[in-house]
């Protein structure tokens, strides 16, 4: 058995284990020591560069926000930001990987900056598709709330090691039309009771759709008896014991779901449309301000309310990262720094523009800049925020999805 086949058959989790072990111990001091070039030099080098920012483009507001950032960056730093619109960050990971396989060296790639988190980051980090750590070089990184929002340093329990710069916060949030659902469920147990009472009106996206997998994680975090195991890399031995309550819950829930749990909507967007049409009761999103945005856009009735489960829902951070072969590395760093600036973060948190919660620690900001963030809650916004439960380690995702698929499709 010394043929290459077993190596190829090595699953992602083995590699992740290895990567996790390596990065957990050796790397942080190494990147902390990297001599950081002066920021002014970087800004100078960035002037005139074009940064190809590969970012998911499924939302008009996000696209408009990136357009705004591009205008600001051109005016203040002479950096041209091009939004490369993608439908799935995994496509970009694959492209960078293919470029590496084709022997492209540093400075010869097509991607300068990528919007990323979770599995895609874990894959890029593991495969050495990211260059040197850079976040400590960014002046605005000092404002990031790394203690209050620990997920800004741990992306799905994988240490970021300075390879990606936080951009925004996300937390699993539900929304529904309060006229159709006056009393929203406050836990997955209450959700099950609701599904029993109103069969066929609840569903969740079919994993591996992102929101579907997140819903499963939420159930898992609420019901498992060994939450600590989820923060560690996946092991086949732990899997059955940790996940048994999850499958028991889903077995009980599915018969009461839309189409008897035999079919699932393709993604969160489809569910939102069905809630808007009145076919389903509850939609789920990762942006606590999503429903408010949709109300403004007249795609949801003004009576829509958002909420998070009282004891907390899954939360994480999304980031921007620079591939190893970026052509405009300096420019990409300037962009990442700009995206962390109070000005950019305040606009991003503004419901009129995007409504994505900030990664900054407002207490550390100068008063003038802090004022830009304060705003009264709008119709549809989450009124009472709940604690963010940390994501399970990224290596759990694939076994969870595989097992779900095996059982339910």
């Amino acid at each position: 058995m010394t043929t290459p086949a077993p190596t190829l058959a090595l699953t992602r989790r083995h590699l992740l284990l290895a990567a996790g072990a390596a990065t957990g111990s050796a790397l942080p001091p190494a990147w902390a020591q990297t001599a950081a070039p002066a920021w002014t030099d970087i800004e100078k080098a960035a002037r005139g560069q074009t940064v190809y920012f590969n970012a998911w483009a499924g939302s008009e507001q996000i696209n408009a926000y990136i357009q705004w950032a591009a205008g600001e960056l051109l005016a203040t730093h002479g950096v041209k930001l091009e939004h490369v619109k993608v439908s799935d960050a995994a496509d970009v990971v694959k492209r960078v990987r293919a470029e590496k396989a084709a022997g492209r060296k540093a400075g010869e790639g097509t991607v300068d900056l990528i919007w990323i988190n979770g599995e895609n980051f874990a894959a890029m980090k593991r495969d050495g598709l990211l260059g040197a750590p850079f976040t400590q070089t960014l002046p605005n990184f000092a404002y990031v709330d790394t203690t209050g929002k620990p997920t800004t340093l741990n992306d799905f329990s994988v240490p970021t090691d300075g390879l990606e710069s936080p951009w925004g916060m996300a937390q699993l949030t539900f929304f529904a039309d309060s006229q159709r659902l006056p009393q929203p469920p406050q836990s997955t147990a209450e959700l099950l009771a609701l599904a029993r009472k109103q069969p066929g009106r609840i569903s969740y996206p079919r994993p591996p759709a992102f929101h579907g997998t997140t819903f499963i994680k939420q159930v898992l975090l609420e019901h498992t008896r060994d939450a600590a195991a989820l923060a560690r890399p996946f092991t086949p031995e732990a899997f059955a014991g940790v996940t048994a309550p999850l499958w028991a819950y889903l077995d009980a829930l599915h018969p009461h779901l839309w189409r008897g749990g035999k079919q699932f909507p393709a993604n969160a967007g489809a569910i939102r449309q069905m809630v808007s049409d009145g076919e389903l009761l509850i939609a789920l999103t990762f942006n606590p301000n999503d429903a408010a945005n949709e109300i403004v856009a007249k795609r949801l009735p003004a009576t829509t309310t958002s909420w998070q489960f009282a004891k907390g829902t899954v939360g994480n951070t999304h980031f921007v990262a620079i591939p190893y072969n970026a052509q405009a590395r300096a420019g990409a760093m300037v962009v990442a720094n700009f995206l962390l600036s109070p000005k950019a973060q305040a606009r991003k948190a503004d419901i009129a523009h995007w409504g994505d919660p900030t990664v900054l620690d407002l207490a550390r900001l100068p008063a003038a800049e802090r004022a830009a963030f304060a705003a009264a809650p709008l119709p549809g916004q989450v009124k009472q925020t709940a604690p963010a439960l940390p994501e399970p380690h990224a290596s759990w995702v694939e076994p969870l999805e595989k097992e779900w698929t095996r059982r339910y499709s």
Partner: protein, 589 residues
């Protein structure tokens, strides 16, 4: 010119064959990965997904084939073919995904049809739990595919019927068969169809391959648990994990094998059917005793020879019928029936397009309201703000269509006929290989040539995708061009160029412009090659539409589908205008 002909043809051949072969080889090379096949085999969904793919692909192809054949029969018999073809460009130009989205909203439990009847008739205050979209039997997908492919088959059949040589011969044979006492319908099925059907082999294969491997339509309206194998392959190819990518490529390989096997099966079936049709066991007569090919040269006026009175009467009746039909101004009786079938299809398209139009401005629209509570133009604003992608799309599609057309004309003009026949399987590869697999090869070629993210690479990729369609559209008319024109032109002392520029190409104007329009439409619709070869740096109307549809907003998707629809409609409109027939006054004798 003649001594240069073969070298020039060879150069053309290499120009097209090398990239196509390289792409195919690299795409198929992705399949040599034992662990990927093992992973695929272990996957719990793939066998059921494959069953779905085969069922929806074969059923929709068979239905589209049958529907197109029936419409053609009525159109041919009723002499209303040209009228019938007038509405085709709009149908051809409707993007597949857009059609599926519109159809889904029509028939969904919360869709328009049920809203129209709720709650006054059905009593539904909420959408009923009916699996009318993403149904576990794949019926929605089959319906959408069938309705989308009938126009394509009709159109390719029409390109055959527009060949002067064939049309005249088939009309004559059809009339002759009627003088033998066959009804016009039966005469068509016995005489014309058996000759037409084999010529539609490649279009049919394209339809079949499309039906078996379609991703976007299946995502919208196809079964979901599990989805079709093409959707699974597509999801796997999108995964960040290399091993899962390889599994996706293997699934693409399975689909390629299914296409191949179905194609061979179809060939065999058709051979049997043609053989049986030639034996002519029609109700009217008996099996011919001497000639095995009576449809081409039947024994004329059999009835006259046997001298039966009944036979004579029937013969006379059919001659009268034939004479009536030969009168050009007369609209055949079959016209009303054609109208029915065709109107049904047209009504479906109209309903879908209307749904999209309303959907693009709909805001909140809860069931069972028949009309949206709020209207919003936000989606169209968004379309307007990304209008810069229009120019990329336009220039790319124009350039690819022109390049492909130039190549095809040169090839058909220069290549010996047996070269052409031999090369067709290779040239048609992009039609037949699953798109998910083909794009893997294209991308590897681009990486290898360092063309990724380059305009030139994108243009080449588009041209490669467009080429087979243009060739398919152009060759019937081009190869059927009456050779006597050339002899006549030569006898007047004109050279070849003069003949081409003054006689042949002007006469083929219609076919040339229509083929270019097809190429244009195909280029506009390219998603995967644009995304991969363009490295995301070039966004077209289609990549915009698909990425925005990832957010699954009905209004935005509908608006973009509208834009995606508009460009090909324009192209077909221009083609129709360029290729409009010149009107001559016909002297009636």
């Amino acid at each position: 010119m003649n001594n240069l002909r073969l070298p020039a043809a060879l150069a053309l051949l290499l120009l097209a064959a090398l990239p196509l072969l390289a792409t195919a080889a690299l795409a198929l090379g992705a399949l040599f990965d034992a662990s990927a096949w093992h992973a695929l085999w272990q996957d719990p969904q793939w066998q059921r997904a494959l069953t779905y793919s085969i069922w929806t692909g074969l059923a929709s192809t068979a239905l589209a084939w049958w529907g197109a054949a029936a419409l053609l029969a009525q159109g041919f018999v009723g002499q209303s073919l040209n009228r019938l073809l007038r509405g085709l460009p709009v149908m051809l130009a409707t993007p597949h995904a857009a059609f599926a989205i519109g159809l889904a909203f029509l028939i969904a439990p919360s869709g328009w049809l049920l809203r129209a009847a709720s709650p006054w008739l059905t009593g539904f205050e909420f959408p009923p739990p009916w699996p009318t979209t993403q149904d576990p039997w794949g019926l929605g997908l089959i319906a959408a595919l069938t309705a989308k492919e009938i126009p394509f088959l009709l159109w390719t059949a029409a390109t055959q019927l527009q060949r002067d040589d064939l049309r005249q011969r088939w009309r004559a044979e059809h009339a002759l068969a009627q003088t033998l006492g066959y009804s016009p319908q039966r005469a068509y099925w016995r005489v014309v169809w058996p000759q037409l059907a084999p010529r539609l082999f490649w279009p049919l294969l394209a339809v079949l391959a499309y039906g078996l491997t379609v991703v976007d339509m299946a995502l919208v309206i196809g079964p979901a648990s599990p989805p079709t194998l093409a959707v699974l392959a597509w999801q796997w190819l999108q995964d960040a994990d290399l091993a899962i990518n390889a599994q996706g490529a293997a699934a693409g390989g399975v689909l390629a094998i299914v296409v191949l096997v179905s194609a061979l099966g179809w060939r065999a079936l058709q051979a049997v059917a043609t053989h049986r049709a030639r034996l002519g066991n029609g109700e009217r007569g008996h099996e011919p005793k001497r000639s095995p090919t009576p449809s081409v040269r039947p024994e004329p006026f059999d009835e006259l020879r046997t001298g039966s009175v009944e036979g004579l009467k029937r013969t006379r009746a059919s001659i009268v019928r034939w004479l009536r039909q030969a009168q050009p101004e007369r609209r055949g009786l079959g016209g009303t029936k054609t109208a029915f079938g065709f109107w049904l299809l047209a009504a479906l398209y109209a309903a879908v397009l209307l749904t999209l139009a309303i959907g693009s401005i709909a805001g909140v629209w809860p069931f069972p309201a028949l009309w949206p509570e709020a209207l919003t133009t936000q989606a169209w604003h968004s379309v307007w703000s990304s209008r810069s992608t229009l120019s990329t799309t336009l220039v790319l599609a124009l350039a690819a269509a022109v390049l492909a057309l130039a190549w095809c004309v040169a090839w058909l003009e220069l290549a010996p006929r047996h070269w052409d026949t031999a090369m067709r399987p290779l040239l048609n590869l992009p039609l037949v290989l699953p798109a998910v697999l083909w794009v893997v090869g294209l991308y590897r070629v681009a990486l290898w040539l360092r063309l990724e993210g380059q305009w030139s690479g994108l243009l080449l990729a588009h041209t490669a995708m467009v080429l087979p369609y243009v060739l398919l559209a152009l060759s019937p008319a081009y190869l059927g061009f009456d050779p006597r024109y050339q002899a006549l032109s030569a006898s007047l002392g004109h050279g070849r160029w003069r003949f081409l520029l003054r006689v042949k190409w002007p006469l083929l104007r219609r076919a040339l412009s229509a083929s270019a329009a097809v190429g244009f439409a195909v280029s506009v619709a390219q998603y995967l090659p644009t995304l991969y070869i363009g490295a995301g740096r070039f966004s077209s109307v289609t990549t915009e539409a698909v990425t925005l549809a990832a957010g699954a907003q009905r209004s935005l998707t509908s608006a973009y589908a509208g834009l995606q629809f508009l460009l090909p409609v324009l192209a077909f409109g221009i083609a129709a205008w360029v290729g409009r027939p010149r009107r001559f006054k016909v002297a009636t004798t």
